[in-house]
Symmetry: C2
Subunit: 231 residues, 2 copies
DNA sequence: TATTTCGTTATTGCATACAAAATTGACGAT
DNA sequence: ATCGTCAATTTTGTATGCAATAACGAAATA
């Protein structure tokens, strides 16, 4: 039924990887759920080998828990785990912003400004309608910023932590005012870069992340109290 | 000389992983060197499958660079890369120390104090003689601290960044005075924990990491100007 | 009825076989 | 001599088969 998207390279591992990651992030696979190599393989029309490789990759990235002779389980994300993700993002991305303020070229700043404009233009559209586009533009903004900072290793680390679908989830948690605030943050970061003020850029980014953190944790509390009646 | 140690679990993947990681970190495999699944496999008396799995794991951890249909290369660590590693360590570990100051139990602080004492006791021994033990005790200290902070995800992230063998390398870069300073830092961090002073603990840890950073970068400059023997 | 033991089954780990892609080297054209 | 082309070889990617280990369940005993 799904068979996922064949991906660009059409490589079997990519296919398995994309399918699994999507299933995990979309909630199709519940937390703690046990996954079997064989089942996934036949479902995707592949052999166990590429599925197994995808398992390992996802394990290294923290999405699956692997126990040697038993199988793999979908990792569980506690509120504390999510808090820690935002903690890391805040620490690293604010540092990155500061460095970018010292090193960004005119062209890079220009491109960042354009992305910030795009973001603002979407601010008044209905939330659900531009969710994907907002996520994409936002991801581009943050990525370009790391590039401007010239921090390749930090980028790798961030990629490991800040998953695009999770970003989408963040926007789903935003209230209209918070979306506008987020867009404003982007503009402010660009302004700090133009001024080559590392402190300012760093502080603005810190606000940006903490604001997102707040929105997500509020969402979590809502989800926690709404659908469960046993407490 | 190779064939590595059969490791505890005697699992083939572990064997391959341990062998490869050791070879990379010891410099037996030069940077940018191309590794072939088949060669490693026959050399270790295994099939390609577990070797391949080890490759992927090491790739995810940043020790190997994997390009889809070409093979794997030993990753190159530029001075900037190493700088970034210390940047991350500084950011995360100082935050962790601050959190530990707020949450550590008496028992945990006691244990940390004992480790700090052990460290001091070794401070006056010849550098090379206690290199391994120093690394072990140091690693334990930092690990226990993360545990006291109750930050499981951050611990995973740190594990990815701060490799034990690299820690050993740090101690090899220390001058006698720096070893004593490092031991003093540990004591100071324990004191900050006893006082439940997050700012203090955080600042002490920041000093601790920056001091190590400084020592390693100095070592790098020395190696760079001196003739090196690795191919 | 609860619990332990043992045999069956299912699932993972590893090895091998085969397919696809890339690298290499020789050859020929300019 | 240099560059480009193409085939031979090597190397990676995937599939399958077999062995080892763990999960499951039934039977037997207390």
């Amino acid at each position: 039924m799904n068979v996922a998207t064949p991906a660009k390279g059409a490589r079997a591992v990519e296919q398995a990887y994309d399918y699994l990651k999507n299933a995990i992030l979309s909630g199709e696979f519940a937390a703690r759920m046990h996954l079997r190599e064989g089942a996934i393989a036949t479902q995707l029309g592949l052999s166990r080998t590429p599925v197994r490789e995808a398992f390992r990759r996802l394990g290294a990235e923290g999405w699956l828990e692997i126990t040697p002779n038993a199988g793999v389980k979908v990792a569980e994300w506690s509120p504390r785990d999510i808090e820690e993700v935002f903690e890391v993002r805040m620490l690293i991305e604010s540092r990155v912003a500061g460095r970018a303020a010292q090193r960004a070229t005119e062209a890079q700043i220009e491109r960042l400004r354009a992305l910030a404009e795009q973001m603002s233009a979407m601010a008044d559209c209905p939330v659900d309608q531009v969710l994907d586009e907002r996520s994409t533009v936002n991801a581009e903004f943050h990525e370009l910023l790391v590039e401007a900072a010239g921090s390749q290793r930090l980028k790798r680390l961030l990629d490991l932590v800040v998953e695009i679908p999770m970003v989408k989830w963040v926007f789903g948690s935003y209230q209209p005012a918070e979306i506008r605030r987020s867009a404003a943050h982007h503009h402010e970061i660009v302004a700090a870069l133009e001024a080559h003020d590392a402190e300012w850029a760093s502080a603005a980014m810190k606000s940006h992340i903490l604001s997102a953190h707040h929105a997500v944790m509020r969402r979590l509390r809502q989800l926690d109290s709404a659908p469960n009646q046993d407490q």
